[in-house]
Symmetry: C2
Subunit: 239 residues, 2 copies
Amino acid sequence: MTCSLSSLCLPLSLNLEEIDKLDKIIKRRQALKKGDHLFRQGDNFESIYAVRSGSLKSYIMTNNGEEQITNLHLPSELVGLDSIDCKSYPISTKALETTSVCEIPYSNLQELYTKLPDLRSQIFSCMSKELRDDKQMMLLLSKKNAEEKVASLLANLSARFKRRGYSPYTFRLSMSRNEIGSYLGLAVETVSRVFTRFQSMDIIAVNGKEIHIANKNQLLKIADLNDYLVAIDKKSIAS
Amino acid sequence: MTCSLSSLCLPLSLNLEEIDKLDKIIKRRQALKKGDHLFRQGDNFESIYAVRSGSLKSYIMTNNGEEQITNLHLPSELVGLDSIDCKSYPISTKALETTSVCEIPYSNLQELYTKLPDLRSQIFSCMSKELRDDKQMMLLLSKKNAEEKVASLLANLSARFKRRGYSPYTFRLSMSRNEIGSYLGLAVETVSRVFTRFQSMDIIAVNGKEIHIANKNQLLKIADLNDYLVAIDKKSIAS
DNA sequence: CGTACATTTGATCCACTTCAAACTCGGTGG
DNA sequence: CCACCGAGTTTGAAGTGGATCAAATGTACG
């Protein structure tokens, strides 16, 4: 078992004995190839997952077959917290690129909650954080225009990559233009146009899926990120 | 203490001894009047709340002062689950009408998690449910048109009222047209126009804040609710 | 019972979608 | 090795759903 739990799988602050207990219930899953499903809407719910490398998207379908991406999952993030009281997954999740995950059977995790209150708190914390992110996403979807949406996505990704030690200025955006559109509530063409506009303004440089942020201040300005979540992540998380 | 916990405050299935323990930590708060804040963004986080009667809205502000309503809280629902790992509330919540709530100091609740695993599960379940609702809201905001949005809201409210024993056909919508617009990502005028259109189609009858659903099938058809969440609520919640 | 605010109705406008077509590029088979 | 293919992306032109602006009507509440 090479899963570096303490730093990667969960933002955990457990002691060695606790990590050992958690370690015992975690399974490594074979790597997913691009396009593979981690699970499909309707599959029996058994486990949540922690992303080790790569990336995943979660999505739901409208009745007329349109896809709405609801989450982009990057390494160290948990997948499936919206399913833990369901018999079957209410959404589908598939790999955007070659991706490896740790599987955490939920019934086993549940048994640890009593013995490991810190672990329990961490899961509560992850869920609470996801709820806050969702509210932020609602704001993006209903109040922001195309440029603000794209800028917000890039700024958000930049911050997430930075937090896990990657460059906040140069990274790979594993979603296609189509998927970006689905995620942000925009047509593909609009996404493409905003990218070209941002490039002509020297805010970003794009090469296929490679993104380089050339003018972070300007990007943040356009994103108009309201301070509320930024502030929370920086200073007001309890202990 | 007159809080009928077992049926109202939480969708709990606890035994009497457990209810008694929970009962001990819950405080009744004085009723809020319309417009009163339960808490404001930035206030110290101490407690979550259960709505006893009335209704509340939670909202965040964009930097340019626009309000995005993120939740409408009806009786028996929990408020504040998106704040439980924060030092201060990341959002504001205010009463839409005269409203009474139970206050549940979170540190006390946390202490019960070890002793009362069922209670713990219920809170996990509430959070997971809220995550699913959020995803549904994202779909609404980014893929649905004005009529579908309004129809979805009315259908959703109808179901929520029904579940707690009120008429699913006639109810009071405590939000103003403005607030409905903020919640659904529409301009006030658009909300008003959809309401009149639905009335002329004899789908609903509106008298101020009183809503009567005259043609539920047609409403559901327009709402185009994708079966996924409806199905979940009906049959696939784990025990 | 009058004033402030919420809602409705009408007319115009525009950001984004939609439709259409050209282009790019990684893969693949002759 | 390179011509070709198809999916993904970009670019252009036209159309539209809902926003915005403006004004009339309705309504709650001191």
